[in-house]
Amino acid sequence: MITAHAVVYQSHGDPKDVLFTQKYQIDDENLKENQVLVKTLASPINPSDINQIQGVYPSKPDFTDKFDSSKKLAPTGNEGLFQVLKIGSNVENFKVGDWVIPKSVNSGTWQTHQLGTANDFIKLPNPKQSEEKGKTGLSLNQGATISVNPPTAYLMLTHYVKFNKNDYFIQNGGNSAVGKYASQFGKLLGINSISVIRDRPNLQETIDKLENLGATHVITEDQNESKEFGSTIKNWKGTGKIKLALNCVGGKSSTGIARKLDPNGLMLTYGGMSMKPVTIPTSLHIFKNFTSTGFWVTELLKNNPELKIKTLNQIVEYYENEQLKDSPSNEVKFDESQDLASLYIKGIEDSKNGKQLIVY
């Protein structure tokens, strides 16, 4: 018997009021033939995890009695990295020691263990397996945060628009996690980029960092909104076209990047629940045949598991070849003496200073 700890809630609300740790038993001696038992290596705190607990996110986990037969509880967390502890007699695609991530959302990653079936997980190479191929192994942070931000950036750049040599995409939120992945993928895929960032005290330092990562050009929101700056961008792009705009900010910033698109351009809106409304000049729509649509990686991949595997394999390859830098997290270590829920509640508070990763 294994005693597992899970962060759960019985009703929606402010995480610090509703989250608690539920301990429950997993019978690891009697796995069914298709079952896989995993232990958690690390799981991050994403804004959508918090919105789910608050009850304001459209996709929510079911309340289940698997943690405690007397009441219905909902699991927490959607992203995470696990290691296979035990497998049922019929499981062929996983072996003990493999690294895996959840195949779908809402399975609960803020817990020490998970008992699922072979169908619930996707395999990633563990560091030993990568080294055997002569590659660099994934870090815990890379594995635990591979499901949402890197595929969002990669698919927005590859799934909609065909770029030719010299073409561009433009994005706001250029210093966000997705923004940084997009700049890097742009460079790897041969697509030029213009990243818009907020003005800040250490502006030049941030610009240098982003350009080092792979951003072709970095501009400020003031420049994004300025008509005069348009001629600078014209010079940059030369014969290339700006074909895609990635919006995670909304408001005037979205208008600014939309205006820079060449005819028949597309703007994808992605990201958080705190986004400002999108404002689009009608002339753009009508005379430049501009299209705007939403991008939600979970929805896209839910109906397309092959695309998910293909995308993850590509990202793993970039990591193993050290061609891609992960967006760092603040790592917080959990040990059995601590209350797991308290650790995540503190992590949620600290999230305003950057992404938090709980390491087991």
Binding site: T269, T282, N289, F290, T293, E299
Partner: protein
């Protein structure tokens, strides 16, 4: 020799009465080449895009050598008065195939490829078939797999295009909610006041029940756009078309993201230039619907031509705020 008139302009301006001129020219019908056809104007409407074109900044207007100026108008019905092309007979009803024809002229010498024959229509129908019903027809066909009980919502619910959308949708079993300015709610089918629609409490379920709201049509770009987007079902589309109304649209980014809402544009002129045969197909389909009695023309005001085309066009433009105007020469 045929004596002809055209309403012309040489520069772009909002002061229409000072820049629009009546230009007279002559056409020698005895000198038509083998492919040439002489047509005579019967009726020509005023569309908002005509005005926008003269104001400047809409589409480039071409210059006609025989009057050395631009000629206004993009829609009109003509009859053939002389033809050397065996496929086109005198008295055939025709409309120009492409935008930018300069329809505010009493006569034109054209080739067969410039025309769509619209025989069998009533003159009232033929005069306005090219733009409003064609726009409505193509807008609806932006979605191919309509199901019985699906919904369209649209602002400017009593505009000409909107009324054609309502009729054409019904033929597909699709229902339409028409948002109408508070002062204008008259007898529009499924009409709802703008003030009710833009209210925060508005819930589309009250009207559409379990039906899917798949298409929202925006031709005025005002504050109704916010709830047009909110009212769409998952995977719905907001299409913006037309050249009147506000200069921007605004909607909730979270709704777009979570319901996978697409916003895009529709512009008949662009479609026609890119695919003239598509426009011909649209007009032929509409002629069939008119002839089968499935489609009715939407009423408009007629301005009678009294010898000076410029005067008639200016009178019609001035009346335009009261609804659609068509100058009739017959």
């Amino acid at each position: 020799m045929v004596k002809a008139q055209a309403v012309t302009y040489k520069e772009h301006s909002k002061d229409l009465s000072s820049i629009l001129k009546n230009s007279e020219y002559e056409t020698d019908e005895s000198k038509l080449s083998q492919e040439e056809i002489l047509i005579q104007l019967l009726a020509t409407p005023i569309n908002p895009s005509d005005i926008a074109q003269i104001n400047g900044g809409y589409t480039q207007a071409k210059t006609f050598d025989f009057v050395d100026a631009h000629i206004g108008g993009n829609e009109g019905v003509y009859k053939i008065i002389k033809s050397n092309d065996l496929n086109f007979k005198v008295d055939d009803l025709v409309i120009p195939k492409l935008p930018g024809f300069g329809t505010w002229r009493t006569h034109a010498v054209v080739k067969s490829d410039d025309l769509i024959v619209v025989n069998g229509l009533e003159l009232d129908q033929a005069a306005t078939i090219s733009i409003n019903p064609s726009t409505a027809y193509q807008l609806i066909n932006e979605i191919q797999d309509w199901k019985d009980g699906d919904w369209i919502i649209q602002n400017a619910g009593n505009s000409q295009v909107s009324q054609f959308v309502t009729q054409l949708a019904k033929l597909k079993g699709v229902r339409v909610l028409n948002i109408v300015r508070d002062s204008r709610l008259t007898d529009v089918e499924n009409g709802i006041r703008e003030s009710e629609f833009t209210n925060k409490e508005f819930d589309i379920k009250k009207y559409a029940k379990d039906g899917r709201v798949r298409l929202a049509l925006n031709s005025v770009s005002n504050e109704t756009v916010w709830n047009l987007v909110n009212s769409l079902s998952p995977d719905g589309v907001l299409i913006t078309y037309g050249s009147i109304g506000g200069t921007e649209i605004k909607y909730d980014a979270r709704v777009q993201l979570l319901k996978n809402i697409k916003t895009k544009a529709f512009w008949l002129t662009k479609n026609t230039k890119a695919n003239p045969e598509g426009k011909v197909d649209t007009v032929k389909s509409l002629i069939k619907l008119y002839q089968e009695g499935k489609l009715k023309d939407v009423g408009y005001n007629k301005v009678k031509y009294a010898g000076d085309l410029r005067d008639s066009v200016l009178e019609a433009i001035q009346n335009s705020k009261n609804g659609k105007q068509v100058v009739f020469l017959q």
